[in-house]
Symmetry: C2
Subunit: 328 residues, 2 copies
Amino acid sequence: MSETVAVIPGDGIGHEVVPAALEVLDSVADVEFVHVEAGDAVAERTGDPLPAETLEAVTDADATLFGATGETSADVILPLRDAVDSFVNVRPARTYPGVDAVQPETDLVILRENTEGVYAGIENRLSADVSTLTRLVTQSASRRFAEFACEYVESNGLDGFTIAHKNNVMRVTDGLFVDTVREVAAERGVDADDAYMDAMATHLAMDPGQYDVIVCPNLAGDMLSDLAAGLVGGLGLLPSANVGAERGIFEPVHGCAPDIAGEGIANPTATILSAAMLLEFLGADAAARDVRTAVESTLADGPRTPDLGGTATTDEVAAAVVDRLPEG
Amino acid sequence: MSETVAVIPGDGIGHEVVPAALEVLDSVADVEFVHVEAGDAVAERTGDPLPAETLEAVTDADATLFGATGETSADVILPLRDAVDSFVNVRPARTYPGVDAVQPETDLVILRENTEGVYAGIENRLSADVSTLTRLVTQSASRRFAEFACEYVESNGLDGFTIAHKNNVMRVTDGLFVDTVREVAAERGVDADDAYMDAMATHLAMDPGQYDVIVCPNLAGDMLSDLAAGLVGGLGLLPSANVGAERGIFEPVHGCAPDIAGEGIANPTATILSAAMLLEFLGADAAARDVRTAVESTLADGPRTPDLGGTATTDEVAAAVVDRLPEG
Ligand SMILES: CC(C)[C@H](C(=O)O)[C@@H](O)C(=O)O
Ligand SMILES: CC(C)[C@H](C(=O)O)[C@@H](O)C(=O)O
């Protein structure tokens, strides 16, 4: 494999966790990195949080590793998701032995529709008093997304998924979403349960172990994945993948953490695990497995950053992960 | 006080917890009950989950005590909320000594905008492929809601609230909501913090003690209050109030629980606490306080239903609460 990976550290701790993940990536794969900028800092300098050069690098690359951005996040990540036509956001949330968690039984994946819903970006101020947003749900996007979800379930040897939605209130739009996902699941022989997204929030808080794969519209996925992050011990551990047919963007679920930026103590785990998802996307399954195993081993008895109760630096954790990789 | 209260048990355990709460209400206040029907059972019999007679009773009454309905819930509760122009849904979530909770430090109130957002009910199937929902946010509704929130904070001796929203994505609509709420808070001298609703889901799961009052749009409130329910030990404990200028509807946050309906073991606490909110709404503050104190005392060392690890029946819990009321 010699693929091109665009690299966007972004802002704040992005500049710490991304280099850490690159060190790991470099140890297991032959990848060419293209370094580009996005976020608050470049916006301050140039007026544009997402320079044309960055957008181009991302659409030219086979995959992108993204750190985190600040205030300008929505101006950066939403256009990037669009640019690579990433129609699904894959967000695994699990606990690790020895890492404190509100709900230690959590081990699930959220598959979030990544192109429409309230994220379609159609808003209007109709008058001084009235504003509207058009929530868009199409059968075609729901179908493509559901096909991915079914493949995900099949290729991971699972039985099915649970659809989270609000089709009792959003009858036409979430109605279309749920009906389409159910239809595709039936065609594929995949089990499809469903639950109202509010009820699922209660269930997740009390007994997340009952869920394996949650399939949902864009904003529901945004909420439910951050809730899952809270249950497993914080955002420092959660990777994510924005997956399109040809390209992908891989990013930790956490933000740029201005409170600890510059101290070199940010937890690089989420970004390293995002790099593992990137490897898998590029077909380097064995390397992805090796990285995950090394991360698990490091979490179990290696150095830890302060968010996990340790005193290690970002670099020390990355070095420990690299140390635990099999000899190349 | 001799006020008229419409009573809608609804379906399932509604027929158990509502009579239990009426017993408590009857012991502390002079209220005339008007019994009416809504929900799945009446829909099956008459084709209409919300008979005209019920709607009329609710709009004629000073307040309504609502139990829970099944499949037809949205067809019942949404028109009822509209009918009494309840522009805010008040949802307190707290833990009680001796009751197991995922996050024992939880003690907060969610104030949910109750008239618009995605609940405005404007949906269209534009083509075989495309469906849309119009999310509505008006300055006038946001302002009325914010004024209530400020009064709530002031009359409870608190400093301020935290606005939950997604104005980085829903820039125009949640932008208008947040700006308006902030404006009103500034006019009133009430502190207004804010957080993205996804980030708040993480914070709530990990450290709910940091929030007192959360102020948010309709669907955010739906999710966040069910999340809070999960943190305090389940839906059996959460009351709610749909508050309008003149009328209110008071209902437990839980559903009609078909799995245990008919067994007489449903936890009546949420409905009894909803009755306490009803008393407060009618100006019977002392009676409301007495009911709450009796409920707390019962939870601490009285009989418990199976959901809280006990073996008591619904009626035994209600009788214990009545027993612990001060002599009338
Ligand atoms: C930054 C923001 C636009 C983004 C989203 O809402 O998708 C973030 O919350 C996420 O979940 O990746
Ligand atoms: C039944 C449903 C329409 C309702 C809502 O979404 O408001 C319920 O979830 C609630 O929170 O009271």
